[in-house]
Symmetry: C2
Subunit: 242 residues, 2 copies
């Protein structure tokens, strides 16, 4: 873990920028912990396509986890996103245009799993963690679902806004039945990006006995604020019961 | 309202059996209120097919509404069910066999709306109520969805385990777009009675902007206990905000 800059503390939340090296790749990451630290459950936060590790809803979820539940949070920039881009991820439209390109190599999914594991290993080594959860919607599910299938440390997850669709569809279809932890799956009923039938099909394939689906009207990005806040509460409740 | 017997009080919940007359029909009903009474929001509880107004989950929801939230509850026996049967509803298998027969007359849906309105009128006249909610799964949705479309006093609902299916399908399809209040819709992903595609289609037709769907794995009757408890909490929260 190569710390970048000093930790920034805001209303009890300590935010530390760091990099990890993984298979020759530099993985930009952020860690949020309680001021004063100490071992705690950890939630991995996977951002959506065209966004980055400090997107508004990622930051809000991280702060809610730390402040309301004493749970730490870790985010990385996904492949071809955020600080991995020449423009630093400052232009979401440019990142959106490059979305397909970011996932066009078949190795991308395995490399992303390795990146997450490297970041998680670094955090466990340096600050310790308890049980681990995962939250990621849309591209966050493209990154996270194969990770959860490969990573027994992850014990609860919130996924969604993704289906048997897009550049990682075959892998999602293959890995979904391997999921065994509790999974909450969010669906936007009028999703204009990922067709509803593909989203429902991916939920159907998830192997966990303790899975549940929550759907709301509206377009891809219009998940109701109360449902977004409940993500942190759901994961914290599950991780604290372990 | 013709009271039948004395009210029974158990751990703060007063339960009163009564009948109302409606278009020549005797409608058997139960009212649960806080001991000591007073105006309060009211939730109508519509039981499922083969069951009756005091089925276990109806009684548990009524008691939770009163004890946790100070919200009253009202249940009636549906058409051809409970005390409307010669056997008094004591044999769910016999009632189940007669389920289709109970709904075979095209007038049944309108008569059931009238029965509910008569019971609600009687309760409002005699004990007063605040805002009104509705909870009914399976046949409880067959009874309740057309009622909600016809009854502006109902301001929030939990429905589900029903689709564009069964003896009242045409009416459900017709009335669903008229719903305007917040609706939570429960789905059992492996429903062996009502095919999933018909359940999702009915949710799709519900006109409310504030609708949401919650699905869990398992058969028709296997709604998780935590989700069943949350029904009372959801309705009470909505009715108290009005």
């Amino acid at each position: 873990m190569q710390r970048i800059g000093e930790p920034v503390v805001e209303r009890g939340v300590c935010e530390q920028r760091f990099d990890v090296e993984c298979q020759g790749r530099r993985v930009p990451a952020l860690l949020w912990t309680r001021e004063g630290g100490g071992e705690a459950p950890l939630v991995l936060l996977g951002h959506g396509g065209s966004l980055h590790k400090r997107a508004d809803y990622i930051l809000a979820t991280a702060r809610r986890l730390v402040r309301h539940h004493g749970v730490s949070a870790l985010a990385i920039d996904g492949p071809g996103h955020g600080e991995r881009r020449a423009d630093g991820g400052s232009d979401p439209q440019a990142a959106g245009r490059d979305f397909e390109k970011s996932w066009q190599r078949p190795e991308t999914s395995d490399e992303t799993i390795a990146d997450w594991k490297a970041a998680l290993d670094a955090v466990e080594r340096e600050v310790g963690t308890g049980p681990v959860g995962y939250f990621g919607l849309s591209m966050g599910t493209m990154m996270g679902l194969p990770l959860i299938a490969a990573e027994p440390r992850i014990r609860a997850a919130v996924l969604g806004l993704m289906g048997t669709w897009g550049p990682n569809a075959a892998r999602l279809r293959e890995d979904a039945p391997r999921l065994a932890c509790p999974v909450r799956f969010l669906v936007q009923w009028d999703d204009e990006i990922v067709p509803r039938q593909h989203v429902l099909e991916l939920f159907d394939l998830v192997g966990s006995a303790r899975k549940s689906l929550r759907a709301h009207p509206g377009v891809h990005v219009a998940v109701p604020p109360a449902e977004m806040r409940d993500v942190a509460d759901f994961l914290a409740a599950h991780l604290k019961d372990l």
